[in-house]
């Protein structure tokens, strides 16, 4: 679809995932009181905004598309990361141990996978 946005979302998700893994290794709970956890929360919020933008742009471009792709699957891959990331976020900050950050890492890592599948569906390899 939009390659530059997909690349940006992938890089941002991988950075946030690496950040989460680092916090988990250092045994830092996601308190949202230290600079490191607030920065991560900011990165995840930015990622969510980018995913929302991708979903809106994706649906608009799907409506104006003049070739056949699998519409329901495409919309599914547009919506899935928008839903998964906040769920992972809330599920992670409810945990006051290193496992909270590991939940967020998994949530962030699901984004590049979903973006990649989205690109495949868009180019016709459903």
């Amino acid at each position: 679809m939009i390659d530059s946005l997909a690349v940006a979302l992938t890089v941002l998700a991988l950075v946030a995932a690496a950040w989460s893994v680092l916090l988990a290794i250092l045994d830092k709970p996601l308190t949202l009181e230290t600079g490191a956890t607030l920065g991560l929360a900011g990165a995840v919020a930015l990622l969510e905004l980018g995913l929302l933008a991708q979903a809106v742009i994706g649906v608009v471009r799907l409506i104006g598309l003049d070739r056949e792709i699998h519409g329901p699957t495409f919309v599914g891959y547009l919506v899935a990361p928008v839903v998964v990331l906040p769920l992972a976020g809330f599920w992670s900050i409810a945990e006051r141990s290193r496992w909270g950050a590991s939940v967020l890492a998994v949530g962030c890592l699901s984004v590049p996978v979903l973006v990649l599948r989205l690109q495949q569906v868009w180019s016709g390899h459903a």
Binding site: G76, W91, S97, W99, V103, G107
Partner: protein, 133 residues
């Protein structure tokens, strides 16, 4: 103390386990909904198995998150069904590929999903045993 049991079930590694289960529940449910709604006649067996897998993942996610005595029993059953499912479907999909014209979550022992479907029920059962009262 049912609350302490629930807390133990969903804290620490359990929280990560439930998160991964949740992602699989969502992925399997969405995938099987699309398959059944748009092309059920192409591979009914594979798509019904996808739907079964989705139900089991949703059940495991919810019952682990609830973490009461009764729900942990359902979680145990869900993990057991998953383990049997992934092993049986994995073996059959390799031995008789013609039965599976389209892949399910459990085909090839979950190879399409990084073998996580094979590892997840084992971790779930171990976690339930570890946190057993």
């Amino acid at each position: 103390m049912p609350d302490a049991l629930a807390e133990a079930t969903r804290s620490g590694p359990g929280r990560l386990l439930i998160a991964v289960y949740g992602i699989f529940a969502l992925a399997a449910a969405a995938r099987s909904a699309v398959q059944i709604a748009t092309r059920f006649d192409q591979a009914p067996v594979a798509y019904l198995l996808s739907a079964l897998a989705a139900v089991v993942y949703v059940l495991a996610t919810v019952t682990l998150a609830v973490g009461s005595r009764a729900s942990r029993r359902v979680a145990f059953l869900s993990c057991a069904v998953e383990l049997v499912g992934v092993v049986v479907v994995g073996a059959v999909s390799l031995l008789v590929p013609a039965w599976f014209p389209d892949a399910t979550v459990w085909s090839g022992f979950g190879s399409g999903y990084g073998f996580i479907p094979l590892v997840l029920p084992v971790l779930g059962l171990l976690w339930l045993r570890r946190t057993a009262p």
